[in-house]
Subunit: 182 residues, 2 copies
DNA sequence: CTCTGGTCGGTTATATTATAACATTGTCTG
DNA sequence: CAGACAATGTTATAATATAACCGACCAGAG
């Protein structure tokens, strides 16, 4: 059978992303978990994309740098990254984005409870919010129903500010790709 | 080539559900759409369940009363019912529930924009909310971001009031099946 | 150092959810 | 009835996700 050489260039991403990846690695180390090569690659690929990425898209891209990757390879990495709070799953898109708070090292790794996402139907980009009022209104409503909240999914679909300012037919889907985190 | 006898008992559901189905039929008629036999069956099956139902579960149940049903049969019915605002899709579960406002004939058929769902992890039941404060907080936050909202998905997972009052090991998954709408 | 237990990832197969595409049948309307 | 459009039948396949089992590797205990 094949030798599973992981043909990973040591730092295949933009410097800005590598910095985030280094921080993520440190974050994991602090929590006694490991951001392994595969996990780091997957996280990098997600951060590199301007829009949420599906698992199989991710798999295709991963294969460029890691031969022999299969669906479980990607899903395991995604599960890990989500557990650590480094990424979010956008339910409506069955796709993944980096957590907008990855940088803020004071978050407990569980910002997932209260994040909200604005999903643009035109350009596909998502923006992460963490609106206090939404969170509170939601907690209150749940409390009134006697309901113990564990996790919430709040996803708002519509048209983003950038896309609203340009005509519908403009090639907004082709706008420059840039990391969306920050 | 089979003869496609639709072996539908005229009123296979509980009287309480049949009443809802009759109203739904009238609601559709008012909007110049048709709640056909298949659509009515699918809606009935959804209303009959105490928990959200997956499309393929629905397909299995549908086949008892409608031979030859295939995935598109179910998905077309689901698309129609969702378009009419008679059901909601719970994204986190990839499953469907009746709209809690189906009865209130003053709703424009598009309550979907602002509904929230409490999903119990223990018993699987969902409760539909329509909390004004959540909706407003959300609209405000979106407006501040310059975002034009078209649809929102708000799903809260946790433990419902009923399940919280009983020990974890109680067979809460087996509680009596009763229509959840109302 | 070596053993050992657990984590990580490879590999194959399959489950689950959803849609494409085209043919056929049904229904309304003039 | 004829024509148009809506609804459904039918077959095939796409897209997303997990099960199950195995071997490699690593970290800590002794």
């Amino acid at each position: 059978m094949e030798e599973h050489v992981t043909e990973t260039a040591p730092h295949p991403f933009d410097p800005a992303i590598e910095i985030l990846l280094d921080r993520a690695e440190q974050f994991c180390a602090d929590r006694r978990t490991r951001l392994t090569d595969i996990r780091r690659l997957v996280l990098g690929l997600i951060l590199q994309s301007s829009t949420p990425v599906g698992a199989y898209d991710l798999l295709d891209r991963l294969r460029d740098q890691h031969r022999g990757a299969a669906p479980p390879t990607v899903y395991r990495a995604l599960d890990f990254l989500a557990d650590q709070g480094l990424i979010h799953r956008i339910e409506r898109l069955a796709a993944f984005v980096g957590c907008g708070h990855m940088l803020e090292c004071d978050h407990g790794g569980h910002c997932g409870h209260r994040a909200q996402f604005l999903i643009c139907k035109r350009c596909g980009a998502t923006q992460e919010l963490e609106d206090r009022r939404i969170g509170e209104a939601l907690s209150d409503a749940a409390a009134r129903a006697g309901f113990a909240v564990e996790q919430s999914t709040i996803e708002i679909e519509g048209i983003c500010a950038a896309c609203r300012t340009m005509p519908e037919d403009a090639g907004s889907k082709l706008r420059a790709v840039a990391p969306r985190v920050g």
